[in-house]
Amino acid sequence: MSASTFDPYASVVATSPRQFLYALNPLAKVAAVAPAMLTLIFVRDLATPAVFLALALLTLMVGARMTARTVGLLCGALPLGILAVGIGFSLWVDAELVADTPAVVQLGDWTLREGALVIGFATALRLGAIVALALIGGLTTTGPDLVRAGVQQLRVPYRVGYTALAAFRFVPRFGHELSVIRAAHRVRGHHGGSGPFARVARAWGYIVPLLAGAIRHAERVALAMDSRAFGAHPTRTERHLVPFRVRDTVFIVVGIAASAAILVLLHPWQL
């Protein structure tokens, strides 16, 4: 997490017409995948999450800009994560539950059974699919646009929305402040030990100066915003519109229909 390279305002735009995700309303991207994500929590098989994962990746490949970072995330970190979680979870599975499945690995008197692998990877794929679905919106929406859509379509009070926008500016500032505080405490010799407890004790020392500085800064920003008529009227002129168009409705309908179709076809519940 590097605060200095973080620019939440940098706009994300499509570089070719096929990258349709950028032109959609942020809420549409959430609404289209949310039912699938919620349902996924309760499925137990391998096929359903695998299909959702593939579908989400396909949507991203087509609809989003493939930068080095995105490719690394989708084709590197995500599969690796699934592999790690899959193996990790298979080790935890209760051996008696899967005692009647064939052994895959045998080390001394410890066996890894196929049933355990199935359960482990079902969980891993499920989490992977949920993450991939979230990335459809996450990689193609800026924080400010999400906030604006919240204000314009969900009727979140604009004062709350703009508070969130102002909060994006706090991130690099507080990040820098934290690094100065850490350096300052180090110089003071507040450096006792390197174990986890010493580390926690040290972090505790950063919290009050960090929060005290943060709250004072926030109070000053509030005065500046009040001075510029923030909250004068129940609404304000919006120059940046984040419209909700027919294509957004279409995207939601297609998304939900596809999710329903997959669930009906694969019927993943062990009833």
Partner: protein, 180 residues
């Protein structure tokens, strides 16, 4: 026109500051999440419990309606910008934790601010988290001792973090920050 709104700009921005600062500290905890899920899934409740912090600190510092919810939402929006993969989880926990903390405070009509009130919210949150995560990581397939320790830790996690949040709030008032 001469009446001031329920949440003044100052209160809103102090919530934002608390959300961002806990978000930065929580960002380090967020980096731990994948490792915890892989190595010690039953400890996940301890990590997830850290998400109670924005609301606790906001309520302890400001003692007003809605501040917990707003702080949670802002923390979630900020964390999502860093880590889009978890964005729905962030916003979901924010709404859930915020609603519970607000709900418990509302039941006492925003008058009782004793420590017990914060721990009640923490216990409610712990139980809810335990149930949802139980399904998400298929705990039913794990040995009984893992299931039990998981459930206990899920409830204890938010309670422990609530104690931390209260400690921070007390230190801040001692330092004279954000007098109510």
């Amino acid at each position: 026109m001469a009446s001031s709104p329920l949440l003044t700009t100052r209160v809103l921005l102090v919530c934002a500051a608390i959300g961002v600062a806990t978000g930065i500290l929580g960002g380090f905890a967020g980096l731990l999440t994948p490792g915890v899920i892989v190595l010690t899934p039953y400890l996940y409740g301890l990590v997830l419990g850290s998400h109670v912090l924005p609301g606790i600190i906001a309520q302890e510092v400001l003692r007003r309606p809605l501040v917990a919810l707003v702080s949670h939402l802002i923390a979630a929006v900020i964390s999502s910008a860093f880590n889009p993969a978890w964005s729905l989880r962030f916003i979901g926990t924010a709404l859930l934790f915020g609603a519970i903390q607000e709900g418990v405070a509302a039941l006492t009509r925003y008058r009782a601010w004793g420590a017990w009130r914060f721990f009640v919210s923490a216990a409610v949150i712990g139980v809810l988290v335990a149930v949802v995560v139980f399904f998400a990581v298929d705990l039913g397939a794990f040995p009984l001792w893992v299931q039990i320790s998981y459930l206990v830790i899920s409830v204890l996690g938010p309670i422990a973090w609530t104690a931390v949040g209260l400690g921070v709030g007390t230190s801040l008032s001692r330092a004279g920050v954000a007098r109510r």
